[in-house]
Amino acid sequence: MSDKNINIKLKVWRQNGPNDAGRFDNYEMNEIPTAASFLEMMDMLNEKLLGEGKEPISFDHDCREGICGACSMFINGRAHGPDNAVTTCQLHMRKFKDGDTITIEPWRAKAFPVIKDLMVDRYSLDLIQQAGGYVSVNTGSAPDANSMPIHKDIAEEAFDAAACIGCGACVATCKNGSAMLFVGAKVSHLALLPQGKIEAKERAQKMLAKMDELGFGSCSNTGACEVECPKEVSISFIARLNREYLVANLKD
């Protein structure tokens, strides 16, 4: 890990509110340590703007350790920037070279309206979750270990799906603005486990109907989402969602 500093140029999307047309503003940042995270670099930029009496750039962030999914940003044409399997808070400036121009845009999709600058409204994902992404009965407190045997492979697979942090990178990346990877992950992790299996079919129907209603696109199976997903959720979960959904409707 080198500790050298780099000079960069930034082209950042600024938008005053949901109805503003928006524009790019250019900034120059000098002597940025390559060990800094991308968000730390943004903090430095905001300090600088505040010092100059200018409006700082709004962006979402919370945990800054790659688990909450709040940080977004479309960096140089990719969700969460050039590194794979990371969120923006886990992206580091060492991924960039001295003299680079970095373009920073908000997540763009019909279902993700911009609130301000780089901050977008991802409430639509919550609405999909509320449409069926739960188990309807109280399943009690944690059962004794191994009182409900679940095959290791199934447990692993359910966990891989449950790793989704609802960040929306899949939607931002998808050429169709589709949330199929998110819905696939949510439907699969519950469908694989005994408590969630019972409602699996109607859950798939309800969540998909909500996704369609909110204006997300359909899946062309390009696979770009799974590459940009910080949790490496596989599109095999989209196949599982398709299966659950088709079987549910053929049975009705």
Partner: protein, 224 residues
Amino acid sequence: MKGFLSSSIGKKLLMSLSGLFLIVFLLVHLGVNLTMLFDPIDGTVYNKAANFMGTNPIMKVMEPLLALGFFLHILYGIIVQLNNWKARGSSKYAVVDQKDSSTWASRNMIWLGVFVFTFLIVHIINYYAVLKFGQPPSTHVDGVEMHNTFKLVSDLFEIWWYDLIYIIGFIALGLHLHHAFWSAFQTLGLNNKIWRRRLEIIGDIYTIVVVAGFTIIPLYFLIF
């Protein structure tokens, strides 16, 4: 069941089923065409095969089904695409970099489809319409009078620029199929981490057979 076929997955179900039907049709069509190479001088085998395809009762049922397959696939291809463009939103990214995350073909299925469709129209005008409604050359095989489809086809294949259009059409179809084959299984939910790779390989083998098979025929008539 309500709203099933108009849901995002329902529409893709129709596309994948019609697409798979077209994939089977292409193999049958290729099989008949390849008989041209069995006796490339007077084309008796091919004429018999073409005559059989043009007259037997099963094909009388299959023909409208095939038209329906194309119709559904194209109709839903357009509906799905328009909705997908809408879902992308009105504000466009200034920079998009997907070269490492998806294939070019998968992002351009609609344009490859439009290209294949144009080719299909040319194809129908040149052969199907002539055989059905025009005055194709005729011949006698075993005392039976029938269309000399062989002459119709091989004469056109001797024109180099016609062959060029024909081959470019199949390359576009090949790119469409490179993504389409495994994608159809994914849409049907018949896929997982292990089968993904297998389906891609089977799809590419199918694609190469179809593209190579169809292009080898005009090349033969051009060269010999």
